[in-house]
């Protein structure tokens, strides 16, 4: 059995799954306690047999398994992530330390209010801080992620529209939008009308005017948009939407470009969400948990999810009595552990530090843009904010695509940028360095990109067959979808090891 053969030191050696390790009877858990048989307490037809094939490992075995898996991951603390639209900034350690305090980690959401006053105060303050940064009047912290924030925001809009007598039918979404925008619109019962951006990379008032009518509930706009370009017409666009009693929703995924520079609330935005796991530095965790607080203008307050955190005479309270509320979108009070990290981040930076954060995000992005401009085709010449978009137009002629460039970057020790997004730019390469990177790192990243541009000319095969130095080579994704193996099964394992 392969479980007993020594693994090769080559890091491309096969790696065992949890289920292929260990030995029957082994355990990492000890809690000696004599117990009555469960059959004496629960009818046996409601009980199960033992869990078939469940792991049986020792403690060191468990740790070593996961530690070795961790070595196969790329991460911020190891390397630089130029991922556009993802804001992969440093996740401060102090935030991790403070959420592990017992008074933060071990508190029950349904405990009597006197036992959670510190937590409620934190949430109350955080709502106000985020409202201030974004120029909004009220904030709910309940949504568990950006996409849930979008859904919540659209539900607020729908509730408002319904209260005016007609929920309306459509949401306008620019062609540069994140995929979640149209998906959230559908989930909220709306049809999506796509609005094209112009060839300079932004949305024009005239284009919005052409599609804006009384069936449109809202325009969903990302600012800066996913090209990293500030929507310069935003105020007049908002006027056009408002003139027909529509509302403006802003996807705040790119808020890292705007802190202290421009407030969405002053651009005519009525509802927005922000991603705490982007702008406010909470860790991405390999795909969550995040948090997607939603901010609104005063006239939407009554529709916000319940419970609302309120300050009463005897302390902070959870207000449930809001009859116009859309209800709950999540259990309890949202992803508190994430909210607490963001709170610590804002405390540490303060208003001035948040502003400096956005300024340095812009400086880093513009620096990269300038350095790469001679070697890659820049999608738009408009000034960029916190990220910039290149394409593979120059390399395509040599038979080298964005995918090849991305994979070759892995060989240079860099995570690829966001690729093939936004969808409206062919072969997009979207780079967002964030403010926490040094100019030295930006230099070595751009040096690698420049070297790849040269390789594309001189040795295209090298680029097209990359990566060459990762734990696995290019994976058969089509095969994965065709054969669809979504779990380990003992019988499959016996077959392959046969």
């Amino acid at each position: 059995m392969s479980g007993h053969s020594p693994e090769k030191t080559n890091h491309r050696a096969p790696r065992l799954l949890l289920f292929e390790r260990g030995s029957p009877g082994r355990t990492a858990f000890s809690w000696p306690e004599e117990l009555p048989s469960p059959q004496e307490l629960i009818p046996s037809h409601l009980l199960r047999q033992e869990i078939t094939d469940f792991p049986e490992l020792g403690e060191l075995e468990v740790l070593r398994h996961f530690t070795n898996l961790s070595h196969l991951n790329y991460s911020i603390e190891g390397q630089f992530y130029p991922l556009g639209s993802c804001t992969m900034k440093y996740n401060p350690k102090v935030n991790e330390a403070v959420v592990r305090l017992p008074g933060m980690a071990h508190i029950h959401p349904l405990a009597p209010l006197p036992l959670i006053q510190g937590a409620l105060e934190l949430l109350y303050n955080l709502e106000r801080m985020l409202a201030e940064v974004c120029g909004m009047d009220h904030v709910t912290l309940q949504p568990a992620a950006g996409a849930q924030g979008e859904l919540t925001g659209l539900m607020l809009i729908r509730a408002h529209m319904s209260a005016q007598g007609n929920p309306r039918k459509k949401i306008l979404v620019p062609d540069t939008a994140h995929g979640t925008n149209p998906a959230s619109s559908t989930l909220c019962g709306y049809e999506v009308t796509q609005v094209p951006s112009n060839n300079r990379g932004f949305l024009e008032t005239e284009k919005v005017k052409q599609v804006m009518d009384e069936d449109v509930a809202a325009l969903m706009i990302t600012n800066p948009n996913t090209f990293g370009i500030f929507e310069q017409d935003i105020q007049s666009i908002a006027e056009v939407v408002h003139a027909q009693d529509g509302l403006v929703y802003m996807d705040g995924a790119n808020m890292n470009a705007l802190m202290g520079i421009a407030k969405p609330g002053q651009m005519g935005v009525d509802v927005l969400h922000v991603n705490l796991h982007k702008t406010f530095s909470t860790p991405h965790g390999g795909g969550g948990p995040g948090a997607g607080p939603v901010g609104v203008k005063g006239f939407l307050r009554d529709y916000l999810p319940v419970p609302r955190i309120q300050k009463g005479d005897g302390g902070f309270e959870l207000g449930e009595d809001h009859p116009l509320s859309i209800g709950r979108v999540r259990s309890f009070l949202g992803n508190f552990g994430i909210l607490a990290r963001a709170y610590a981040y804002i405390l540490a930076l303060g208003g001035d530090g948040l502003e400096e954060t956005s300024r340095m995000a812009l400086l880093n992005a513009n620096y990269i843009r300038k350095r790469l401009e001679p070697y890659y085709h820049l999608a738009f010449s408009a000034p960029c904010m916190h990220e910039c978009v290149f394409t593979d137009r120059l390399q395509q002629k040599l038979g080298v695509t964005t995918m090849d460039i991305a994979k070759r970057l892995l060989d240079y020790g860099f995570h690829p940028p966001t690729i093939y997004f936004p969808l409206v730019v062919s072969g997009a390469i979207m780079i967002e360095p964030t403010e926490t990177e040094t100019p030295e790192i930006l230099d070595s990243f751009t040096d690698a990109m420049i070297a790849i541009a040269r390789e594309a000319k001189e040795s295209p095969e090298l680029v097209k067959t990359a990566p060459h130095s990762t734990p696995v080579s290019r994976l058969d994704e089509a095969g994965a979808a065709r054969r669809l193996v979504l779990r380990w099964l003992a019988e499959d394992s016996v077959k392959t090891q046969g």
Partner: protein
């Protein structure tokens, strides 16, 4: 304090390279009217030490199991977490990595997620599990939406009234804007289980699914056979919802009962209570429905050299490809939380999972027995239960008022959700409630404090 590394000379060098004279020039194109009003009215930044102090002050104003006796469940549970869990999820390679879109440099997250999917299939007895959803409540909402995709022509949803009230609220919010869906509440019987007769009489060919807690909000273990029979008779789907995932180490798993979709909250599996989040929603179903599932899936494949590897798969269901036609708008998996659960289950192992579940059952039953016998409290339901149970307490409200300053929380008053259970308390006892605490709980009711 700040997290930007730029020195004055760094900035100058970069500005020079860009060809502008100041950082402000980089956003000079933003309308002046916006720029001049963008100042952030928050206090200036503070030191790391000051952050720790301020967070410590807030934390000290919350009650924890270290200084309180909590008998609280209701969807969030205080369980033992082996030290291995935080050791692994604190590793920056997991905590600070991105969604694994680039599989060559994400095999750690991808393999761990594949293992998570497998473990949850084993625990629930189901065929497939996705990579994770936000929480138990939205997982139920997504399950109902999925059932609707499968049963397009049906419009009625039977929802047990004994399902977690907040979960029912989230389902209502998600369904509000879907045209024509009707929710029918299923009452409970004297055992505390969903009323089988009501289910048999109410289920019809317009019913797309029935949704039940397992165990339900009252801690009662549902007998799912009558619901399965009713579903079979009318072609409806059976959806189970488990808020206390640890119970599945001991109870007959949803898959063996014939559930079509089994979802729930995973917080019990290695995550601290953290005021109710983050945890994760687990989502499992029959393999035949996999293409209508919400959320991400990790699949096994091979690389160019034939070596086993893992990738995100069936992405054509998802928002970043399908946009408005996607099966859901979700694009997170609560990955670090499902990793915690994976390490938890691997550490507990086959015998540990069952043992800890058995401790819960034993302690909860002993506590209930003593509260009935020694404190004279009245049982409300006579059905089998896992680690939570409902008791009727005379003059409950004044008593809870008296206890507010005592740091004993004997349970959860049900009145806020169930007016008909106004005098009732939902008591939860886990392995973390020591014998002395149970003694204290009993004394609270006997007045011998």
């Amino acid at each position: 304090m700040g997290y930007t590394p730029h020195t004055g000379s760094d900035k100058n060098r970069m500005l020079q390279a860009i060809g502008v004279d100041g950082v402000e020039s980089l956003y000079g194109h933003i309308p002046q009217s916006l720029r001049e009003r963008a100042g952030i009215g928050l206090p200036p930044g503070i030191s790391e030490r000051a952050v720790k102090k301020e967070m410590g002050v807030l934390a000290a104003r919350n009650g924890t199991p270290e200084d309180c006796s909590l008998f609280l469940g209701g969807g969030i549970y205080h369980h033992f977490i082996p030290s291995t869990v935080d050791a692994i999820i604190s590793r920056a390679e997991f905590a600070t990595s991105y969604t694994p879109y680039q599989p060559e440099v994400s095999q750690g997250t991808l393999q761990a997620t594949f293992e998570y999917q497998t473990l949850m299939c084993q625990l629930t007895g189901m065929e497939v599990c996705n990579a994770g959803l936000y929480d138990g409540a939205s997982a139920v909402a997504e399950a109902v939406l999925m059932a609707r995709r499968i049963q397009k022509r049906r419009h009625r949803v039977l929802l047990s009234r004994s399902l977690h009230p907040q979960y029912r609220a989230v389902v209502a919010t998600y369904l509000r804007n879907m045209e024509g869906i009707e929710i029918v509440e299923v009452p409970w019987d004297k055992s505390g289980q969903s009323d089988a007769e009501f289910v048999a009489n109410t289920m019809d060919d317009k019913t797309l699914c029935i949704v039940t807690g397992y165990p339900n909000f009252f801690g009662v273990i549902e007998d799912l056979a009558p619901m399965r029979d009713a579903c079979n008779a009318h072609g409806a789907l059976l959806i189970t919802v488990t808020t206390e995932a640890l119970s599945l180490a001991l109870l007959k798993p949803p898959g063996e009962w014939g559930a079509d979709i089994a979802v729930g909250e995973g917080q019990s599996l290695g995550l601290p209570m953290s005021l109710g989040g983050p945890g994760f929603g687990f989502f499992t179903c029959r393999k035949q429905f996999v293409r209508t599932m919400p959320g991400r899936l990790v699949g096994e494949t091979v690389d160019h050299e034939g070596q086993r590897g893992f990738v995100l798969t069936l992405a054509t269901r998802e928002q970043h490809i399908r946009r408005e036609k996607a099966t859901s708008n979700i694009c997170t998996t609560q990955s670090l939380c499902t990793l915690a659960a994976t390490v938890f289950m691997a550490s507990m192992g086959k015998s540990g999972m069952r043992h800890i579940a058995e401790i819960n059952v034993a302690r909860a039953h002993e506590a209930r027995e003593r509260l009935l016998r020694e404190a004279g409290l009245t049982p409300v339901f006579d059905g089998p239960f896992f680690n939570e149970f409902v008791l009727e307490v005379k003059d409950l409200e004044p008593m809870l008022g008296r206890l507010e300053s005592s740091r004993v929380v004997p349970g959860l008053a049900l009145k806020q959700w169930y007016p008909e259970l106004a005098q009732c308390l939902l008591v939860c006892v886990t392995e973390m409630n020591e014998r002395e605490e149970i003694d204290q709980l009993v004394r609270t009711f006997t007045g011998k404090n």
